[in-house]
Symmetry: C2
Subunit: 260 residues, 2 copies
């Protein structure tokens, strides 16, 4: 017997759940139906639904809470799970972050960003330029580029007034949830303008982080370039072991700064 296109049942269920997430049938923060309900809906056993949800949970698309239900993941809550590159102070405890909006404009896409965001040159874009200040110290200077059509109503005021990560704003106000990201890191010398914003001499070494963020179905919906002053902060990463250790209370080691 040949079955060249064999796909396990639970993967098909997962795809269906993913489609419901993508379409917004269940919104961020809401509970999805119980495992038994879903099993009945799809006419499979609870175990099969369970395995599908296991994978969604491992990918941080949903969050299980024993006794309560399974919820669509959100960027609002304190998130140990969704791990973009994170910044931590070299010494001591984290300080408050302040976000200064430096620029906001709508422009037409150039070739590079168009390609990264799967758009055509000349398509409308939103550009946000801002400075992140930690305890009075300017640490990150970044530009964020978004597809203009997806963020039609986005205004400078909305960005300024919003408390919390941009990703939270994107998902609550525009229904676009970032699900995955790819980053490229380089060390660069500060140019005159960046140096000024970050209060360092021109030529000072900075960490340049290029990030493409994706929503469901691997659709790219954000391009970022950040310049990090790493004199008193480091970006940290942890490899090789998964974060959530189900039960077993072996003290958290992956303490994270909030995603920026």
């Amino acid at each position: 017997m040949r079955s060249p296109t064999f796909s396990p049942l639970y993967q098909q269920i997962k795809a269906l759940l993913l489609e419901s997430l993508r379409s917004g049938e269940w919104r961020p923060g809401e509970a999805i139906p119980s495992e038994l309900d879903l099993a009945a809906r799809f006419k499979v056993s609870q175990g099969t639904v369970r395995k599908a949800i296991d994978e969604l949970s491992a990918e941080n698309l949903v969050v299980r809470r024993q006794g309560k239900g399974t919820f669509v993941a959100t960027h609002g809550e304190r998130q140990v799970r969704f791990r973009f590159l994170r910044l931590a102070p070299d010494s001591g405890e984290p300080v408050l972050v302040e976000r200064q909006l430096l620029d906001f404009k709508r422009v037409r896409a150039g070739a590079e960003i168009a390609r990264a965001l799967d758009l055509k040159s000349g398509d409308p874009l939103v550009m946000i330029k801002r400075l992140l200040v930690f305890g009075g110290d300017p640490v990150v200077l970044e530009e964020v580029w978004l597809p203009g059509n997806l963020f039609k109503g986005l205004t400078p005021a909305a960005v300024t007034e919003h408390k919390g990560a941009l990703y939270n704003l994107f998902e609550t106000q525009f229904g676009t949830r970032m699900v995955r990201a790819e980053e490229k890191l380089k060390a660069v010398a500060a140019d005159a303008a960046s140096a000024g914003s970050l209060a360092v001499p021109a030529g000072h070494p900075l960490l340049a982080v290029e990030r493409v963020s994706f929503t469901y179905s691997d659709r790219p919906v954000e391009w970022r370039r950040g310049l990090y002053k790493t004199d008193r902060h480091s970006t940290g990463a942890s490899w090789g072991e998964l974060v959530p250790r189900s039960n077993l209370s072996l003290g958290q080691r992956n303490q994270c700064a909030p995603a920026l």
Copy 2:
């Protein structure tokens, strides 16, 4: 009924398997007993053993091969799984890597490295300093510090003659398998000596990567500091989605350079 120390059966099984891995009962590359054998040994059902192995597999400690068995993971094979920070050329295809040993000595631990490796100041250490050259271009200058007691027979010749990643040498010759790592990244200016090795002017921006690697039971066994010339290469990271996608042939997106 209270059960404050509740631990699922499969977690207990996992701990037993972990202990067998740690003790070397099954060596890297070897097959571990079949799921049915293990179920019989531990007097639990196959499903319970399976769930324990699921987690070990998710942590890249073992590798499953349908129809063949489950094998202790290894640093030798082409590894898509074990993902330390990876370096990729900005343009085009990867080139051959050449490793030049610059220094090798046995010294006593200072305070900083002693603390990182959970040793006492004055304990014996091995220090390896080397240069990684990609297609004729020196790109990484790094120092590796190891507990001297764990690597008693390690010689400069062994390092020089070994083909492949150091981690491969460590595991095949010294039975120490790196299982997890934590990294801190900074942008720094090249000092005179480093600049010379990397063929850049002094003050040139470099990416500094500090890494602590751990073996089983979270025991730290390596401290590294690397300086990366990122002019023509980037270090890449990918967040938010798990790598191995079981079946579903949706083209690999996490192409990796070899771990260094």
